[in-house]
Amino acid sequence: MEAYLVAILIITAIYVLLSLGLTLQYGLTGLINFGHVGFFCIGAYAAAILSAYAGLPVIVGFLAAIVLAGLAAFPIGLIALRLRDDYFAIVTLGFSETVRIIVTSEKQLTNGVQGIPGIPRLVDGVGILSALAVLAVLLAANGAAIYAFRRIVASPFGRMIEAIRDNEEAVKALGKDPARFKIQVLVLGAALAGLSGAFYAHYIGYVSPDQFNPLVTFYVWMAIIMGGVGRISGAIVGTALLMLFLEGSRFLRDVMPFISAVDMASIRIGAVGLALVLFTLYRPQGLMGDFTRRR
């Protein structure tokens, strides 16, 4: 039981990193990134290729995951930041689908649809201790990310990105270039997603293109919308709720065997949809509080 709980906590912690990135991008800056899974994918593949194929130390893969995912955000940012919000959403969604097609097609590098198996574990060994060690590393990474996040929110930079979310024209009128800030935010969030991807690859041990479909992006969106947009606590609580919801359905079937598993899959995605609609309609600020108050 403990090891299963630890496994859920590990996956939760991986998703919290994703949620934090999106909170920075959407919650604070107002960037509608619908391609989050693309950066996650780049991070996972960078870590997988460098450790499983090239045999480099794990830390190199992690650094590459962060850097490459961040770099990938740069051109997307340059192009897409000229666009209106809703166009930005569609372009980023297209970006993540393109990333998936590229990792599917570039077989020499990614082994195509066969995926990359045998990605080394973060911590060798069997049993709960090694799982706890992985969790500890992840929590440390989350802690560092949250620390950096809070520093940024409390800084002049944080003040400016919130100003951009509130009114971009006024920011321009004051002589500051919103694009410069938005691109940095996009890169930061993408780098966090890349880090998350590296953890994911080393934990699951196997990556293949079909793991990186847009549903992952929408799960993260659901988490931050439920938890509370623009707040660290919202990202964490929302992600925990998401996991409870995804994993809970596993136990629900133990308890209510008359729901067929096939229907369960539909019910799961329907509930994601219902949550998105209801939260948008009735509680746009999410569970953890008021959109108007930061920190």
Binding site: A163, D166, A173, L174, G175, D177, T292
Partner: protein, 252 residues
């Protein structure tokens, strides 16, 4: 600083919102732009400050052609505008709004943010001191820590003026600073403008309230249907027949 605009033109479809408008303004001066609703005054501001791309004409600042520069670079050059409908950062407090407007903050650079925290703290307290002065100057002390979205219309106008002042501008373009503001506050704002003008800051002001503006402005430009129909000293311009007709319509 001297602003010269020549033949600025902007058309939407076949409709010419601004039609070959030219004039000048400079630091220490105070120019008023008046005209009936839809005359193209706000569009003119957007053309000057780069928020709209027109179909012709040039904008020169101290002799440099800045027609191709994006809005934030024009603002950084010292020419800063406000908006007809205030664009406050609604979720930030008055104080934070003003802090955000201060120019050249190294805390806006992520690398400095993590590598030079002490320097940034010093900088922040310097900016905070300026913000305190600005709040006192604009008498916004009572609402300093209120989210700006909750301010009254007049207070938002003051806040926008304050934000502009934080950027240390040389030329300020005010779009209807008196609209929706009570007469007492109008006198106050006028007082601020005079004081700043005396310090050498130039103003271009769009206004409906002719009384307040004609007492402030050294020169008036009158627009009607996108064109500049009269320019000159306020007392003289307002007497012209075509101005009276355009501006006051049949009532004259």
């Amino acid at each position: 600083m001297k602003l010269v605009i020549e033949n600025l033109t902007c058309a939407f479809g076949g409709f010419r919102a601004v039609d070959e408008v030219s004039f000048e303004a400079e630091s220490g001066g105070l120019v008023g732009v008046i005209g009936p609703n839809g005359a193209g005054k706000s569009t003119l501001f957007s053309l000057i400050t780069g928020f709209l791309a027109g179909q012709g004409g040039t904008v020169r600042l101290d002799g440099h052609d800045i027609s191709a520069l994006p809005p934030h670079e024009r603002a950084r050059a010292g020419m800063v505008r406000t908006f007809q409908v205030p664009k406050e950062f609604a979720h930030l407090t008055v104080r934070e709004n003003l802090m955000a407007a201060a120019p050249n903050q190294s805390g806006e650079n992520l690398v400095d943010l993590f590598l030079r925290p002490a320097a940034i703290r010093r900088e922040e307290s310097a900016i905070a001191a300026r913000v305190d002065d600005t709040i006192a100057f604009l008498k916004l002390g009572a609402v300093a820590d209120v989210p700006s979205g909750k301010l009254s219309g007049g207070q938002k106008k003051l806040l926008e003026l304050g934000r502009v002042l934080m950027t240390r501008p040389k030329l300020i373009l005010l779009d209807e600073p008196f609209a929706g503001v009570n007469p007492v506050l109008i006198e106050e704002i006028s007082g601020h403008i005079r004081a700043l003008n005396a310090d050498g800051i130039g103003f271009i002001i769009i206004e409906h309230d002719l009384g307040a503006l004609s007492r402030l402005a050294g020169a008036l430009h009158v627009m009607d249907r996108g064109r500049l129909i009269a320019s000159g000293a306020p007392g003289e311009v307002l007497k012209r027949a075509n101005v009276r007709e355009a501006y006051l319509g049949g009532a004259a």
